[in-house]
């Protein structure tokens, strides 16, 4: 179900979980499009040689996943801000699950605040943050 207007939203409402494609081919396509190529994003062995646990999902790609999740839920949302804290690396080729939940609604301005959490299969938080978006009345 998608959201069209502010009155459709309740405090505590959960957005549909989004499992983004963190595979190397998808990351490579993203890096090419963003002009941000780097072996640490596209090659596990090269990333390990840099001291990383494996190839990383680029941070800006993670933010793109978060924005995509919000727009899947509310296609007309005007996203004003996505603020993330990276607690642990988000690794390529490892399943990631993005959860979102509405934690504030300003009826006057139409702004909603959404808690965002990216977890792995073990339920451990890799990235968390908040987004602010305007939803039309």
């Amino acid at each position: 179900m998608t959201i069209e207007k502010l009155s459709d939203i309740e405090f505590g409402e959960e957005l549909p979980v989004f499992d983004p494609d963190t595979g190397i081919p998808n990351i490579t396509r993203f890096c090419e499009a963003a002009g941000w190529m780097g072996a640490r994003f596209t090659d596990h062995e090269a990333a390990k040689k840099e001291g990383l646990p494996g190839a990383l999902v680029p941070g800006i790609m993670s933010q793109g996943f978060l924005a995509a999740m919000i727009h899947r839920w509310a296609p007309n949302a005007d996203i004003r801000n996505i603020d993330t804290v990276f607690r642990a690396p988000l690794l390529a080729d490892q399943p990631a699950h993005i959860n979102g939940v509405v934690t504030d609604i300003d009826e006057d301005t139409g702004e909603v605040e959404i808690d965002l959490t990216v977890t792995n299969d073990a339920g451990e938080t890799r990235v968390f943050g908040t987004a602010r978006a305007i939803i039309q009345a």
Partner: protein, 212 residues
């Protein structure tokens, strides 16, 4: 009574939660805690008064701090103006022994938090600095723990005879109450919290499965 002893609000540099939204979340989602302690990073928040908000939501909202030492991060409960004069809360290179001594002098309690976490947890520094003197309590359930961090904390606590507390380490609204501490007595003030910790009548609890 169950209190989440480790939470951050927008007063912390990496905190994203308004205290009022914590309250709304606890009540809307029926989170099984009676209140929480705001332990802002590297500071004590003297200016905020949450008494009205607490009363309105029938929750206990207390304040503490989270400071940084060579053994990692440490929660401080029972902060007073005099205690903040003993050491610089914003210093990221405090000595744990100094923090513990200052807390003892001013009737506060210092509790190493997420001790099983690499870099910012006490366990990671024991090989270098040895087992610290004066630690009685550590955080054995932390809502932000990954991998086997809580297990490391619990094993360390058992080996050294430490008592354990729980806290969510919430930085966003929906993480409040993931872990907490159950007390045998009612607590409505920082003084009562310190007394209950010193009485050693509490246990760490986790609600992570229910809340995630």
């Amino acid at each position: 009574m169950i209190l989440d002893l480790h939470a951050h609000s927008i007063k912390s540099d990496d905190g994203r939660a308004k205290v009022s939204n914590y309250c709304q979340w606890i009540r809307t989602k029926n989170i099984p805690i009676d209140g929480f302690v705001l332990t802002e990073h590297r500071q004590f928040d003297f200016e905020s008064d949450y008494s009205e908000l607490a009363a309105k939501n029938e929750l206990v909202i207390l304040k503490g701090a989270e400071v940084e030492t060579e053994y990692g991060h440490v929660l401080v409960f029972g902060v007073t103006e005099a205690l903040t004069g003993e050491f610089d809360f914003s210093n990221t290179h405090l000595k744990l022994a100094d923090v513990i001594a200052a807390c003892e002098k001013h009737g506060a309690v210092a509790v190493p938090c997420h001790p099983g976490r690499p870099r910012v947890g006490m366990h990671a520094h024991i090989d270098t600095y040895g087992i610290p003197e004066g630690v009685r309590i550590v955080e054995t359930y932390n809502g932000g723990s990954r991998d086997n961090e809580d297990e490391i904390a619990q094993t360390m606590a058992e080996a050294n005879g430490y008592l354990g507390i729980g806290g969510s380490d919430a930085h966003i609204v929906s993480h409040i109450g993931r872990c907490a501490t159950r007390f045998n007595s009612d607590i409505t003030s920082e003084e009562q919290l310190v007394a209950a910790l010193k009485a050693e009548e509490f246990e760490a609890v986790t609600f992570r499965e229910q809340n995630t």
